[in-house]
Symmetry: C2
Subunit: 270 residues, 2 copies
């Protein structure tokens, strides 16, 4: 996993990832809980945005959270300690070369990771080997092609497309969410079931207007301004107009839609 | 409402509208029920696709279903009779000039209608006048900008855009679903709450593969082939490639997403 990671490791970016996790916790994770005594591998934990939620919701399960970035692991460990979590261990490791025995986990959790990988099916297959037969994997991914809004805006769509193009050039796929089902099936999981988690925001939902439109989605798009301009994907004025139009959707008559996809599958028992 | 209606009155088109209604009944209507003794105006009932569901689910409410098309009203009446429904009356009328007294209905239901109107806010305001104070309106609309799929296909998107453009030229708006909240607020309703109803289809859901991807969405797009070619919006080969790519999403690794928006609001009591 030597590719460039699109989302930054900078403090403001970390704050964005935390805001995203806070706003979306219920939508994405309310139905994820692991039994007492089970061992869960979180592959690609980043700075721990999901880890804290997972570990709190399953206090009697044991989590091992890994990430390829040593800096992220350090930050995630600090946060877990600050939150007094005692059921999580962290380790720096590459998802394609995880230093664990086959069939050594009861469950695997992988969230916002496949979108950054050139070979997502191979990554899932590698994780499958680490699962005991009958163990489950949970996959969560967004899909930037699911973003639409009112007022509609070609400029905003062009700014979003910069993110999609940069992520593609880095070997990832910002439109991966819609593929969660076929990817999990291709990786050899059984009983795959995908449920979309749509974030619908209008002005009757001010917490999502702020937490999702402003601090999650638009902040993410704004975060690619410099690399998009440097890559010659767009003119500065066009990008800035797109960002303004994204903020325009936060007004009283604005609407914003985005969908995450959550898949659960099982490692075949035979 | 003298504008051209995009969806046809032909037998095959009616079959499509029936298939659509059958597949989506639970998703769209499961949470709509009217109290015994209440009077409900269904504005724009078409051939009765929703009417039968509504009337069956609220057998002790009284429905008055109107449509601007006399042919549609005749067909809807025939279906209601065949289904032994006794709590529905039908009448041909224009939504902008309904022959009813102000405040004479407890509830209004309007589904797949606003997308065809040049002045949707005015239509909603006209319906509001017919409601008693405290009465509710339920609005359901699709949004073709919510359609995305795997494999993605610019040709398929271009074919869908033909439908969007034709509907716009006829005075309608195929992207109206996302606007249900601001339109209802602008028309003077209180307590407006919109919930998206996303149709997510992968090959683990064969009934939706057939009922939604093939018989509802792709059939609808195929239905605009002749007018799209006549209007010079696209070459025949491009359109046909787009339709092929829509059918491609019905294969084992295919995925299809579409979202309807359902809004409920109340006429102010003061």
């Amino acid at each position: 996993m030597s590719q460039v990671y699109v989302h930054g490791y900078q403090p403001r970016e970390n704050e964005r990832l935390q805001n995203q996790a806070g706003t979306l916790v219920e939508l994405l994770h309310a139905d994820t809980a692991y039994p007492a005594g089970s061992t869960v591998l979180e592959a690609g934990c980043g700075v721990g945005a999901q880890t804290l939620t997972l570990a709190r919701r399953s206090p009697d399960a044991r989590f091992l959270s890994v990430d390829v970035s040593a800096d992220s692991i350090a930050e995630a460990s600090r946060r877990a300690a600050a939150a007094d979590l005692t059921n999580v261990d962290f380790r720096q490791a590459d998802i394609f070369a995880l230093p664990f025995d086959d069939e050594s986990f009861d469950h695997v959790f992988v969230c916002f990771v496949l979108e950054h990988l050139t070979r997502p099916v191979q990554a899932l297959a590698a994780l499958r080997r680490l699962l005991r037969p009958g163990g489950t994997i949970t996959v969560i991914e967004g899909d930037h092609g699911s973003a639409y809004f009112y007022p509609d805006s070609p400029a905003a769509q062009a700014a979003i497309q910069c993110q999609v193009t940069l992520q593609e050039r880095a070997g990832g796929n910002a439109l991966l969410g819609r593929q969660v089902y076929p990817l999990m099936v291709a990786a050899g999981f059984d009983e795959v079931s995908v449920s979309p988690r749509m974030v619908y925001v209008d002005s009757s939902r001010p917490q999502l207007v702020d937490g999702f439109i402003r601090k999650t989605f638009t902040a993410m798009v704004e975060g690619v301004r410099e690399p998009a301009l440097a890559a010659g994907l767009i003119e500065a004025s066009g990008f800035d107009a797109g960002v303004r139009d994204l903020y325009r959707t936060t007004e009283a008559d604005g609407v914003f839609c985005y969908t995450f996809f959550k898949g659960v599958g099982e490692k075949p028992r035979t």
